[in-house]
Symmetry: C2
Subunit: 156 residues, 2 copies
C-alpha cells in the first residue's frame, strides 16, 4: 500500500486557488492484486496471465485501467488532494496513456484548473482538478481531469 | 455477480456500425463488497458506514464511483460489449449522475457512436462507445463514453 499518508483533509472551497498543486504518497501495484482485481472486474488475458499478455497489444502483463484509477483515488484520499469534506466527483475525463505494470510504484500530482462557485448554493462550488498518475520512471500512466463538489468552511 | 453471461466476444472492427446497441447481463451491488472496495480504494465515510452516510451529501450509503465503474467493466466484458479482442480503452469521459446503492442491480446499455479507422495502421481503428449503467429503476448511475481500440478480423 506504499506509504498511505492518512492525513485528514483540511481544505475548503475558499482555500483553493487555480494553479495550486498537490503531490500524493506512493502506492505499489502488486502482481497478485493486479490479477485478483482483473479476475473480479476486468477478466481479460493481458491482465491475468503473463504468457498470454506477452503476445497481446500490451506486450506483457498490465493492470486493469480501473485498478490504476482506483489506486489513484486511494492516493488522492490519503494526502494527495486534502479536501476537508472528501472527494466527491461528479465526473470528468480519463486517459490511460501507457500501461501500469506489476511492481510499478505510483504517485499522483494534482493541479487545480478551475473553480466555479455555485450560483444557486452559496456554500458550495465545483472545482476542476487534473490528477496525473506517474510511475517510478516519471511516466504518466493515467490522467483524470475531475469535476469535484467542494464546500465552503461556512457550510459546516 | 448477477448472471455473468460469459460469452466470448465475436465482433471485429468491420462488424461494428454507428448506432449499433448492446445490453449486458446484470450485477448485484452487495453491501459487504461496497464497503470492502471502499476500504481499499475510496475510504470515505459515506462509502463505509451507514450512519455517517445518512448525514452526508449522499443521504445514505453509496458505492464508490470506481466500484460502479469496475462493475460496469465486468458487465461489458461478460456479454455487454462482445468485442473479439476484448475491450482496450485508451480513455474517455465519465459521469456519475446518481449514487449506486447497496442492493442495486446494475445493467449496461451501450451504443456505438463513432468509428474511426486508423490511417497509419490499416488493421485497427478507434471506436467511441457510450455505455450507460442503469439501476433496477432504469435510472442512470454511470455513463462512460469510451474510446476503444478495435482490430479487424484480417489482423489475426
Amino acid at each position: 500500500m506504499g506509504q498511505p499518508n492518512q492525513t485528514i483533509g483540511h481544505l475548503y472551497l475558499e482555500d483553493l486557488r487555480v494553479g495550486q498543486q498537490f503531490t500524493s504518497g506512493s502506492y505499489l501495484m502488486e502482481t497478485g492484486r493486479i490479477k485478483e482485481f482483473a479476475a473480479e472486474f476486468d477478466p481479460q488475458p493481458f491482465h491475468l496471465d503473463e504468457s498470454a499478455a506477452e503476445t497481446s497489444v500490451f506486450r506483457g502483463l498490465a493492470a486493469s485501467g480501473w485498478h490504476t484509477a482506483a489506486a489513484t483515488m486511494r492516493l488522492l484520499l490519503t494526502g494527495g488532494l486534502p479536501l476537508a469534506d472528501g472527494i466527491i466527483g461528479v465526473g470528468g475525463e480519463i486517459a490511460w496513456p501507457r500501461p501500469t505494470r506489476p511492481g510499478d510504484t505510483l504517485r499522483v500530482e494534482s493541479e487545480i484548473l478551475e473553480i466555479t462557485p455555485s450560483r444557486s448554493k452559496p456554500n458550495q462550488g465545483f472545482v476542476t482538478v487534473r490528477s496525473t498518475t506517474l510511475n517510478q520512471d516519471q511516466e504518466a500512466v493515467y490522467i483524470f481531469t475531475a469535476k469535484v463538489l467542494v464546500f465552503r468552511r461556512a457550510s459546516h
